[in-house]
């Protein structure tokens, strides 16, 4: 049995990434009664919570209440937060392996998957994630500009991110003004001329990834009439078969909602949502380097040997005029310096959370991963809890085998001094609590959950630094 993990020699762990997975991992590491663990959490942004702050939509505040759980973890006396400290920039892999017994990378999936069609980089065509980060006040995106002068927008994809983008475009400014949306985004959206949003799904209604509460909400917006084409929301025979075989009531309900939308008469609301299925863009059409539409091909469904349904082109095309395009067909992880990456799946090369050496396929001692950068983007926030638990269980098993790093400087103060030297503007959790109070107070005055700081300099100034 290892000596590490005692009061005299605590197990020192660095968690890279302060999103939900980072907090779930920290919670499980700190929750062991029989083991003394120090957790230092790093994030390249000054603020914690990752996608809960910068991904979850501003009009979905209830989902953000999960941060109360994260705050409880952060209150543990052996937890420290170093915000505004970027792995690979302020601290290298060697720095961390010199100070910790174990590292766990929880950096999420930060880029969009490309559509892979000509014209996707035309002006006016944007990754949905950039729009999401922008309206949520992510410091890296405050300078982004989105051309909302266009009347018709197309959102490619039918996941919950696509639904968020469509909903934010279709909400009235009065509705958004009650949320914690970034102030600059609220001003831009106030001037928005977008009247019509088309959401495009490659497969049928039964295969759409959005969840029922999300699509129901989108279909009932106060200022937008939702429509769908009756023949596109019909349940084809193959989908009917799958839904019945798997007794998938959730999907049956989803199709019912969509058929209800198709049967509905417009109520004369100022904006319009058009839900489309069984169509794929084959090309974005440009004029003067700006997108002005897209060519769509109609698909039909085909069954695979595994019983799933895939989209096949029928060759039948149509052109959809749209001056604004958001691409939302999935996220992908970004490689981290010095950490083996699995290009095929866009994740850190790992076996159930243990980072592997690409040559030998054997675990790299002391290196672990959890969350979306481990398995790819899937599930809800809570899915990352069992995922992190699996990784932490393997960290624990390796510790029992003495398979941990032997850092030269295992003292908590040594790494804190190094961080101060490399990044004088690091943020502690106490700093965040102060910022949080100011944000909430600013919001209270305006009848909003909070008014976010969106620039790092602003945050520093608010702390008197």
């Amino acid at each position: 049995m290892s000596q590490i993990g005692t009061e005299a020699h605590p197990l020192r762990v660095a968690v890279i990434g302060a999103g939900p997975t980072g907090f779930y991992a920290a919670e499980q590491l700190l929750g062991r009664k029989d083991l003394v663990v120090d957790v230092d959490m790093y994030d390249r942004l000054p603020t914690p919570y990752g996608l809960v702050r910068y991904g979850v939509a501003p009009d979905h505040q209830k989902i953000k209440s999960v941060t109360a759980v994260f705050d409880r973890t952060a209150a543990h006396p052996r937890f420290r937060f170093f915000g505004n400290v970027e792995y690979g920039r302020h601290l290298t892999l060697d720095d961390l392996t010199g100070h910790y017994h174990q590292l766990v990378f929880c950096t999420g999936a930060q880029t969009d998957r490309p559509l892979g069609v000509p014209g996707e980089d035309l002006a006016g065509s944007y990754p949905a994630t950039e729009f999401v980060a922008w309206y949520n006040g992510h410091p890296d995106y405050t300078q982004h500009r989105f051309d909302l002068e266009q009347e018709v927008a197309a959102v490619v994809g039918v996941g919950n991110v696509a639904v968020d983008v469509a909903r934010i475009l279709l909400r009235s400014t009065d509705e958004l003004a009650r949320t914690d949306i970034a102030d600059y985004a609220l001003e831009t959206l106030r001037e928005s001329r977008v009247k019509e949003v088309h959401m495009l799904g490659r497969r049928g209604p039964a295969q759409a990834a959005f969840t029922n509460p999300e699509i129901q909400e989108l279909a009932e917006l106060p200022h937008a009439d939702a429509t769908a084409l009756p023949d596109e929301v019909q349940l084809d025979e193959l989908s009917q078969g799958v839904v019945e075989r798997t007794r998938d009531h959730t999907t049956m309900k989803k199709v019912e909602i969509l058929q209800g939308v198709a049967a509905r008469a417009p109520q004369g609301k100022p904006r319009r949502l058009v839900l489309r299925f069984l169509v794929s863009p084959t090309e974005l059409l440009g004029r003067n380097q700006h997108v002005h539409g897209m060519r769509l091909v109609r698909n039909r469904l085909e069954a695979t040997s595994a019983g799933t349904l895939v989209a096949r082109s029928t060759g039948e095309v149509e052109d959809l005029p749209a001056g604004l395009v958001f691409r939302s067909v999935g996220y992908r992880g970004v490689p981290l310096p010095g950490v083996p990456f699995n290009e095929k799946w866009g994740v850190i090369l790992n076996d159930k959370g243990r980072v592997l050496d690409p040559e030998t396929q054997e675990p790299r001692k002391g290196l672990y991963t959890a969350g979306w950068i481990k398995r790819g983007p899937s599930g809800v926030i809570g899915t990352n809890k069992p995922d992190a638990a699996e990784t932490v269980a393997n960290m624990r098993a390796d510790l029992e085998q003495d398979l941990v790093l032997s850092p030269d400087h295992p003292q908590a103060e040594a790494v804190a001094a190094l961080v101060r030297e490399r990044q004088p503007h690091a943020f502690s959790y106490a700093d965040w609590r102060t910022l949080n109070e100011i944000e909430v107070a600013r919001g209270r005055a305006a009848g909003r959950p909070r008014v976010k700081f969106t620039r790092v300099e602003e945050m520093l100034a608010a702390l008197g630094r």
Binding site: K62, I63, S65, V66, A68, V69, Q207, V242, R245, T246, D248, T304, S305, A306, G307, T308, L309, V310, N342, K344, W345, G346, V347, L349, N350, D351, K352, G353, L356, P358, Q361, K374, R375, G376, P377, S378, G379, V380, I381, G382, T383, N384, K385, P386, D387, E390
Partner: protein, 144 residues
């Protein structure tokens, strides 16, 4: 959740067999890697069939000379395969109903990985656990 999210956390290595390898060699590989089946591939990594521990156990009962025979004589050729974007729920149903324990995953005509029923069940369990956790947290904040 899709099949690719299961494959992404299983390392980069896919263990395979060649059709002319002997059953004895396959058994050694299954034991060495602690796995239950190997996909049999050609030299361009296109799947030709699959051979599982069950196939070997069943055949060994009636065939004393089994272990020296080439895999191609024993493997299942009628392959059911999945694609990375396939929905986990549907695949889980197919595996349960048809009593398949191992499913090769194919991109184009090349083998990209293999998922076991254990992988699929665990991924589904994690998904449901996560959803329940979120719902409980929400109820707790709304009705403290």
């Amino acid at each position: 959740m899709n099949i690719e999210h299961v494959l992404a956390q299983k390392g980069g290595q896919v263990y395979t067999a060649r059709p002319d390898q002997t059953v004895r060699e396959v058994l050694a590989q299954l034991a060495a890697h602690n796995i239950g089946a190997l996909v049999v591939v050609d030299d361009r990594v296109r799947p030709l069939g699959i051979i599982s521990e069950r196939d070997i156990v069943r055949a060994a009962v009636r065939d004393e000379a089994l272990f020296g025979r080439p895999v191609r004589q024993l493997m299942t050729r009628d392959l059911i395969t999945a694609a990375p974007g396939d929905d986990l729920r549907v695949v889980a149903h197919t595996m349960t109903e048809r009593r398949i324990r191992h499913l090769p995953v194919v991109v184009g005509d090349r083998l990209a990985g293999i998922v076991s029923i254990g992988d699929v069940v665990k991924a589904q369990r994690d998904q449901y656990e996560g959803e329940i956790d979120m719902l409980e947290a929400r109820v707790a904040t709304e009705h403290p």
